[in-house]
């Protein structure tokens, strides 16, 4: 048989590879390479002021995992934050999406106002909230005192600071849920709702037995995306409290950042970052399985 040389890839394979080539290259250079370097650094004595780079094995990991601040403050904070922030933003976002999905006068204006937080940079939001809850001049305390209550040093008490961080985050991300859920609501088929309206079904039952099940795939995707993002929140905490008072509102990203760039210990910072990365990776895979199952059900 005459061996007409076939190209290594068929036309289709070449097309497929070319479509993802730029993305893959960028990811290789700016995600894979750094992660490999970070993994390497996490096994070495790599302090920014004294980079000896001697191999020390799992010492940094042991130090991070046995650090009480990490175990008893940072991790619980991060998980608590993740759960409450996602739950809060989902419930508010869903309520607002349902509200915006029925036509009323001034709907456009309301919609625009509700989307405002989406445009606000988390750093800007944190600055605003810090100013509002300033213990001497903040409007929150002014209002409290005006109605005869005592002003609170909001940002220097652990739980009030944590609550304010949480509220800021929910405020920031509610529009994100609203947007995606509203888009989802608008793409639902009309017929079941018309049938329900003719039957005179109550609003609550329509929501419970029609809207919610049909919206479920969108909800699940939103929750997974936001949960992963909430785990790595950095900017609002950094600007609002810097992790304080003490280290009581520190989240995982802050912990790694402080180790690497304030304590100048890149090795241990990388190890902490990798520990967190592994945790969220496991969570992410579990959540992905869940998404798959729920979306198919």
């Amino acid at each position: 048989m005459s061996a007409s040389r076939r190209p290594m890839f068929g036309e289709q394979q070449r097309f497929v590879l070319l479509l993802i080539a730029p993305a893959a290259l960028l990811m290789l250079l700016f995600q894979v390479v750094p992660i490999v370097i970070g993994a390497n650094a996490s096994f070495r004595d790599w302090a920014l002021y004294n980079p000896k780079k001697t191999w020390i094995g799992f010492d940094h990991y042991a130090a991070v995992i046995s650090d009480p601040a990490f175990l008893y403050v940072v991790l619980p904070n991060t998980f608590l934050f993740m759960v409450l922030s996602v739950a809060g933003a989902l419930v508010t976002g869903l309520a607002l999406a349902l509200l915006l999905n029925r036509p009323f006068r001034g709907q456009k204006l309301v919609q625009t106002i509700l989307l405002v937080p989406l445009m606000v940079a988390p750093v800007v939001a944190a600055i605003m909230i810090r100013w509002i809850f300033n213990d001497q001049f903040g409007i929150a305390n002014v209002v409290l005192e005006a109605i005869g209550l005592e002003g609170q040093p909001w940002l220097v008490q652990r739980w009030s600071a944590f609550g304010i961080i949480l509220l800021t985050d929910i405020w920031l991300w509610t529009p994100w849920f609203t947007l995606l859920l509203l888009a989802g609501l608008q793409s639902l088929p009309k017929e079941p709702f018309e049938a329900a309206a003719i039957d005179g079904t109550t609003t609550w039952r329509v929501f419970r037995y029609l809207t919610l099940p049909m919206l479920r795939p969108v909800i699940v995707v939103c929750v997974v995306i936001r949960a992963i993002d909430a785990f790595r929140t950095f900017d609002i905490v950094w600007t609002l409290t810097g992790g304080g008072p003490g280290r009581s509102t520190e989240l995982f990203s802050l912990y790694a950042y402080v180790l690497a760039f304030l304590n100048l210990d890149l090795g241990r910072g990388s190890a902490a970052a990798i520990v967190g990365g592994l945790i969220i990776l496991v969570l992410g895979v579990v959540m992905y399985r869940l998404v798959d199952r729920i979306a198919k059900a």
Binding site: L19, A23, V110, V124, A183, F252
Partner: protein
Amino acid sequence: MPMVTRPAFLPGLPNWSRKTFFALALAAICFAFAFPVLWLILTSLRPESGVYYVHRGTEFTLGNFKEVLGQERIVEAFINSAVISTLATVFSLLVTVSSGYMLSRFTGPAARMWFGTIYVFRCVPYISWVLPLYFVVQSWGIYDTYVGLLLPHIAVHICFFSWLMKGFFDGIDPSMEYAAMIDGCSRWGAFIRVAIPSALPAISALAVLCWLFTWNEFLFALILTGNRVPVITVVMAQFVTEMGLHWNLMAATAVMALLPAFLIALFGQKYVIRGLRI
């Protein structure tokens, strides 16, 4: 045609009181959502002397904006942020539209592997790769430059936007593309001339989001830039620590940082809602 009546909201109440209740609740929600921003704007319009008694004074001024705009570093930061956001949007779209198209139209092992990669990297916390990225970027000599901030930004957009893009293309019937290919279009021709135009609403939505995300981003900029490429979020955060007491100036800067994002989102919201159907 039979009138389809919606089941009553708060049944048992007279119509007018239901309407008033609805309007009041709506007003309260809007107020709660807008309050922080309103308060910021109000603060930015106060002279330094009045800013601590904002609720009492009546004096307003544009002096804060004048003072902030007189600071070279802040103006520079605005320009940098705008340039980087725009470039990042253009390049991210170029890269992610094609990658999302691939994810949607092909089902082989390559597509599955690519989707897995994207999902896994989407989960990796920023800090885990930005931290060593600091060293990578430094050893390549692009630390504290436009390129050194721009490329990581594009890289971080890949996962999320490819995923969203896949969803959009999933919603578009591929038969038009097949028809074009039967008529003699190449695969690239079908992609560029048929698929992209029909995905334009989604692409506009992504452009708006991408621009906003880049403009608002903080951690990358904090770690990957020093003094030469100030961006607005970092400059503002430095404000808090270094000039902690000039709330009026800080508010003015923050309001200006809000403005372009606000305009973009205002004009883009139509596309975002229409485009974001996953």
